[in-house]
Amino acid sequence: MEPERRLEAYRTMVLIRTYEEAILREYHADKKPVFDIGAGLVPGEMHLSAGQEPVAAGVCAHLTTEDAVTATHRPHHFAIAHGVNLEKMTAEIFGRATGLGRGRGGHMHLFDPETHFSCSGIIAEGYPPALGQALAFQRRGTDRVAVAVTGEGAANQGAFHESLNLAALWRLPVVFVVEDNDWGISVPRSASTSVTSNAVRAAGYGIPGERVKDNSVEEVHRAAGQAVARARAGEGPSLIEVHTLRLWGHFEGDAQGYRSDLDSVPSRDPLPAYEQQLRADGILDDALVSGISAEAGERVEAAIAFAKQSPEPDPATAADFVFASA
């Protein structure tokens, strides 16, 4: 990877982490002393993506906002890496009228037509619509691609199988990304998946499959580059599984009592590791690090401020937008 792109990847990862830390702060701010999931400025389930930045940063580096991304219940890192408007996204997470979904969607339902970004809270069910986006791109003779993301737990859901088969059959320009963070809530991969790598499943559809063993943005970038190029060239879909890390709980409020690997988690954080690597390679120094961090902080706080200043949706409009008017 060229230095410029390595720096860019780092910048994206820092932005994501800064964002997740800020949401973490805002989420818990008004849920004290007793945690109440429905309380505060940011209520509801909150699935944060800290630790999984390499996947989003590595994949989305190959995309433009003409390409589509469908993410999961844990969507922030992909939304940010794909360039979803941070203010509108944050406003949605805060349930404001200025949000991507005018407050109707929430953190698991971020829809951004400008960047063809969407997500869904139903496991693996974000895959099939990605095929349709890819089909539209293909029919129009473009070289645009659709990226579809799930977790390793989701790869045992029927929609996963159907989607891989259909995409392969129709040579759709799709890149399937599996984020293997070892856990599906409290269930370890060994208790959910009969094979140690989902990449082997790609062979069952006659498409390339690769498992990226390290939670390394550069490795992801490399693998994704091949997959995206293949899709753009009309050669059909590929599957990439990345062995990544869920740095925090499944959702906020998750005490992780079940988590056997908890002790080793902090030491596996990919962000300081990448920072060190880039420092060692002379790409980062103190000034750059603090500059990037400051810039991320500003962008994130601006987005949060925008959200907080935005009006709440008017309850009288709750039934608006069920149907599109003619």
Partner: protein, 344 residues
């Protein structure tokens, strides 16, 4: 134009299946974004002839046979609609909804709302419904109540060729997801007992039957029979049979469940004072209850006799003919119910 605008009398007769296909073909001509996908919609032409001839006319890029992967291909339709295409996806039998309902009700139906209106999902989901030919518990259901219960999708249920065409055109042009449920028994198929009204005059040009407007299939003064799809014909048969006895049934063909035309129902009951709902879906927690409730929450005193229902009595559709016809809303059952109402 809308159907009711048709000034000149229409002579040409089509089966419901052919009327439906004609609407699809006309819209495919008009708009290259329209395409069809589903199981056996291509060379086979649809198990119930809902796509016959389209492959020959529009080729395999616009009439696409899919694997037996309803979740994947309905989801594909959703994503394509999100990107501005206008897919028509066929779920071969509505009974199969259980393998793909998540795409239908959590995605197709909700994306527009969750996106605050920023993402449209202009697609049609067609599906065959209904029993009466011994296809058993997994191939004979109507289930429209299930779809109508879940918000975000329109639900239409044509009973005759002209409506089938006009509702299909309206559904394709609608910017919302529309579930289009066609009863096998109204398609006019040569290999199934067909109602004489399943082949009837259909205007040649394109026209819309507005979604959300019921039709008074037969005016009457004594009993309002609210019904839909194939049962409309049973109700009409009974109405014709009872008229000489001085019992005039008004038959309301709902045509659309979402939106539901409450005004037409209430207005009719206000005149007749008697309400019978005939529904081939399961009795409880469905269409029949809703129709009655719409009246009772407007004005229960309109009901001069207890409201009555003829529906499938909460039993899986049995295979054997005598059992199946014991649970279907047959003319016999409808007649008994009407007589029960007028004698109440």
């Amino acid at each position: 134009m809308t159907l009711t605008d048709a000034a000149t009398p229409v002579r040409r007769k089509l089966s419901t299946a052919k009327a439906m296909v004609e609407a699809i073909a006309q819209e495919m001509e008009r708009d290259e974004n329209v395409f069809v996908l589903g199981e056996d919609v291509g060379a086979y032409g649809g198990i119930f002839s809902s796509t016959t001839g389209l492959l020959e006319r529009f080729g395999p890029k616009r009439v696409i046979d899919t694997p037996i992967s309803e979740t994947a291909f309905i989801g594909t339709a959703i994503g394509a609609a999100v990107e501005g295409l206008r897919p028509i996806a066929e779920l071969m039998f509505v009974d199969f909804f259980g393998v793909c309902m998540d795409q239908i009700y959590n995605h197709m139906a909700k994306i527009h709302y969750e996106s605050g209106g920023n993402v449209k999902v202009p697609m049609v989901l067609t599906s065959a419904v209904g029993g009466g030919y011994s296809d058993g518990a997994q191939h004979s259901q109507c289930l429209w109540g299930t779809f109508a219960h879940l918000p975000g999708m329109k639900v239409v249920v044509p009973s005759n060729p002209a409506d089938a065409k006009g509702l299909m055109t309206a559904a394709i042009r609608d910017d919302n997801p529309v579930v289009y449920l066609f009863h096998k028994g109204v398609m006019g198929l040569p290999w199934m007992v067909k109602n004489p009204r399943s082949i009837a005059p259909v205007p040649e040009g394109d026209y819309e039957v507005p979604i959300g407007k019921a039709a008074v299939a037969r005016p009457g003064t004594d009993v309002t029979v609210v019904t839909l799809s194939l049962s409309v014909h049973h109700a009409l048969d009974v109405a014709e049979e009872l008229a000489p006895q001085g019992i005039e049934c008004e038959v309301v063909d709902l045509r659309s469940l979402v939106p539901l035309d409450t005004d037409t129902i209430v207005e009719s009951v206000a005149r007749t004072g008697r309400l019978l709902v005939v529904d081939e879906d399961y009795l409880s927690f469905g269409v029949s209850g809703e129709v009655i409730a719409r009246v009772a929450e407007r004005d229960p005193s309109l009901l001069r006799a207890p409201a009555a229902r003829v529906a499938v009595p909460d039993v899986p559709i049995p295979y054997a003919r005598p059992l199946e016809y014991a649970v279907l809303p047959t003319a016999d059952r409808i007649r008994r119910a009407v007589l029960g109402l007028v004698n109440a």
